[in-house]
Amino acid sequence: MTTVYVPRDAGALSLGAEAVARAIARGADSRSQALRMVRNGSRGLYFLEPLVEVDSPGGREAYGPVSAADVPGLLDAGLLEDRPAGTGGPAAKHPLALGRTEDLPYLKSQQRLTFARVGITDPTSVEDYVAHGGYRGLERALSLDPAAIVQAVTDSGLRGRGGAAFPTGIKWKTVHDQAADRKYVTCNADEGDSGTFSDRMLMEGDPLVLIEGMTIAAVAVGATQGYIYLRAEYPHAHRTLIEAITAAYGAGYLGSSVRGSGKRFDLEVRLGAGAYICGEETSMLESLEGRRGEVRVRPPLPAVKGLFGRPTIVNNVVSLSTVPVILERGAEFYRDFGMGKSRGTLPIQLGGNLRRGGLVERAFGLTLTELLYDYGGGSASGRPLRAVQVGGPLGAYIPASQFDTPVDYEALSGIGALLGHGGIVAFDDTVDMARMARYAMEFCAIESCGKCTPCRIGSTRGVEIVDRILKGIEPGANIALLEELCETMVQGSLCGLGGMAPFPVQSALKHFPEDFRRARQ
């Protein structure tokens, strides 16, 4: 019986994967062909989604992008027929046949550690997860002293992938060292940054690796309760997480005695409610407690006094999902990837105006050019790329003249940019950078939690000033005013929203001054 894989990833579904799955099931049925269908995550090659794969003795074969209308033709070509060992399947000559999935250049050159299983396994099957190396990190962790787990994470060089890039092991050590009646592990799955989708792909494609990472964190610091704070915009991830958590409980990996260790760990998903600021960790904790997501003044750090006043780990989905491989293969194995102070691999998300958008996990150090052209294939529109925004709505715009910059923490901050959650959004030469600057201010005004005046009021003023610039009203004076306003926001804001929303504006002014000197209709 042939096994067919059709992704259940929301991005694949957005391009018709559900209709493809139904057409395959129906077609197989009417031909009385037996099949086993796995609804996997996405391989992250969105330009090929819906990507259908078929098991074959030589490795999985890929077909894509497949539409429901292509399915009868694929079945006629022998998609579901048995493959003799060593040959491509009978459908290998079909125009949508891509050969072995593993050989696709976009995938073959990647170094997938965190995403090792995404797109390969059945996301909510514990059995499949374990068969593909899952839960080895936890087994190892359970055999170690908690302090040794924390040490391994510290030694790996892992820095938080949510944006602030704080060393994960050091945060864990603080929580570990607190004496408290209760501690929490919380996962920041708010993924509010536009241009990013690695958290979503992981939660939909390999939710058990996140669950395992959180369980290891709990064992390391002595926490008994975990929460995944998930943005409400991700209903698919919500369903997958709940299925996976239920499966993990069923298999004894969560609950009163994790794998018979006598250690309790309970895990629950909590939904956000459409507020970008709730991705900021203290605002997230307020929201988890059922309040307005207003940013807390630090200190105390969440690691000391976090959720319900208890020591709390707050980590991003990718950070936590990277912990299992570190425990399984060792800190050195992970640290040997990367360069300088950027250790390990980074799942980079390519979005916007690119021919081949998707997920690229590689050791730190690729340049923007390599990412945008070798992987991304240049612009989707066929026009020259003019700018990219790295790191979400608070990230700087980088002009084409700086595309030789390596994508790591230090190199990006060296050019006044930031890596954030690793999203890269490409724009062709039709982009109007003054309008993008206006949008940055508008976004800040919509999403401000309201606590500080420069952020709340300043951003609205910023929109008005850019509007005058767009109309060509006293551009010189208004540009000076805008620069001054940005400075005030950077200096006078409590958190990164008001403090960094000026970055896209300042970088647009710096690199694309011509767009601010031209009156629009």
Binding site: A10, G11, T196, Y234, L271, R291, Q349, G351, G352, V425
Partner: protein, 159 residues
């Protein structure tokens, strides 16, 4: 403020009883109410406040803080168009203008016949397939104006 109908009141009560003892339950409760009633009626606020020992102002403050919670009944279908940068780079502005023209509403409004509510959203995590749209929780990628028309027509064929 409109009073709750008997069945709305019953729903709110049921959700409160089920969730009030959970840690930090307010957001969960508001989600529960909106999932069942389609919005969070203002008249539910005093009930929630009494049950959780909070002031009405506190509960109101939470309901209004979050963009997700609606204060009036939505249309039969909820159309969310992504306005964030990646989707802008692929024509989201034009798509939003098209949607407004076609439906005859602005963002945050519902068509006169109650069929569609139109909302902006700031990233749906589908940036590799921009522009993205979500309708009633279903995600769509690389949405052109023509494709949007099709998707709307599938839901309300008469329109």
């Amino acid at each position: 403020m409109e009073a709750l109908t008997a069945s709305q009141r019953e729903t709110v009560r049921r959700i409160l009883t089920r969730m009030r003892d959970r840690p930090g339950p307010l957001l969960e409760i508001l989600h529960g109410i909106q999932d069942h009633l389609g919005f969070v009626p203002g008249a539910a606020v005093p009930l929630i406040a009494a049950e959780l020992n909070l002031s009405r102002a506190e509960v109101h403050g939470v309901v209004t803080f979050y963009h997700h919670f609606r204060h009036t009944p939505p249309g039969r279908h909820i159309v969310q168009i992504c306005r964030a940068e990646s989707c802008q780079s692929m024509g989201a502005e034009g798509l939003a203008e098209h949607a407004m023209r076609r439906l005859g509403v602005e963002f945050q409004e519902t068509t006169a016949d109650g069929a569609f509510s139109l909302h902006p959203v700031y990233c749906l995590g589908n940036c590799a397939c921009s522009p993205a749209v979500m309708i009633d929780g279903e995600l769509y990628g690389r949405v052109t104006p023509a494709r949007l028309d099709e998707l709307l027509a599938q839901r309300e064929p008469s329109k």
